[in-house]
Symmetry: C2
Subunit: 152 residues, 2 copies
C-alpha cells in the first residue's frame, strides 16, 4: 500500500561535488552541487544542474568550462561550507585554506587538495526551469598517483 | 601529486533505479539505470540517460512517459537482473515474479513491490552522443504508507 507524497525533489543517492569556474576577472570559485552525474559514454559527459542565481552559472556561461573536484571522506567540512556561502561574498578558497589549481585542458580551476578531478568543456546548455543543466564533455581526469583514496 | 587516468565515465555515487515503460503493444518493461537523477526543482524534473539500443529508449520516445521505481535494500537481486537482460528477450516482471502496476498520472508501468515510485512525463529529449538524455517532469510520487523503508 502506497501513499502520494507529491512531486518533491528528494532522491538518493546524490553526490557532493565541487564545481570549479573562473569569474570574468579570472577569480576562481567553487560551489557544491548535488544534482550532477554522468550522462553519456561517448563522448564521455557530465551533467550539472545550477540555478541562474549562482555565481557559477554566470561563470560557466561566460567561460564554457568547469571542473568537478570530488572530495575525499576527510573533506566533509569543506564540501559543506562550499555549498553554504556564495562566491560573491566570500573567497571560498582563501577562507578554507584550499588551493585553486588551473585545469590543464579547460579554462577553469580545481581544488588541489581534493583527490579526484574531472575537467569539462561546455557542450550543451539545457534550460529546464529554475535550474539550467550544463552538459560538459569530460576531457581529462586526475586522481592520486597511489590511487588509494576513499571518495565521498 | 596527481596522475591522468583519461576521460572515463566512472564517478560515485550513482543510483540503481528501475525505469518503467510500455512498449507499442502495451507490454510493460523495466530496465536499470545508473545515470539518472534530479535535474530541476521547478518544475521538479528527473533526468535519465539511455542508449538508443535499449527497448526502453524506443518505448520512451513513443509513449513520452516513464516511471522510476526505487528499490529497497532487499531488492538487490531484482535490480541487478533488470539491468542484465533485455525486455526484447525476457519478460522481466514475469521472470522475477514482480507486479507491473499502471501509473496513475502517466502512460507507464511501475514495480509494485518497490517502495518508492516517481511518475514522469517526458519534457525534453537531449541527444548527446551514444546516450540520449530524457528529462521528465515529476508528476507524482508514491511511497509506503508507513514511510519506514531504507531505499538502496
Amino acid at each position: 500500500m502506497k501513499q502520494s507524497i507529491g512531486a518533491n525533489t528528494i532522491a538518493f543517492p546524490v553526490p557532493a561535488w565541487a564545481i570549479g569556474t573562473y569569474d570574468e576577472d579570472g577569480k576562481p570559485n567553487v560551489m557544491t552541487a548535488a544534482w550532477a552525474g554522468i550522462c553519456c559514454s561517448k563522448p564521455p559527459c557530465m551533467a550539472v544542474s545550477l540555478r541562474q542565481a549562482t555565481s557559477t552559472h554566470g561563470n560557466l556561461v561566460a567561460r564554457k568550462a568547469f571542473t568537478i573536484s570530488i572530495p575525499s571522506e576527510n573533506h566533509g567540512r569543506e564540501i559543506d561550507h562550499i555549498g553554504l556561502v556564495s562566491g560573491r561574498d566570500v573567497d571560498k578558497f582563501a577562507s578554507l585554506g584550499l588551493t585553486a589549481a588551473r585545469a590543464e585542458h579547460v579554462d577553469a580551476p580545481f581544488i588541489e587538495e581534493f583527490p579526484v578531478i574531472i575537467e569539462c568543456r561546455l557542450l550543451q546548455t539545457i534550460e529546464i526551469g529554475l535550474h539550467t543543466q550544463f552538459i560538459g564533455e569530460m576531457l581529462h581526469r586526475l586522481s592520486p598517483c597511489n590511487g588509494n583514496v576513499k571518495s565521498l
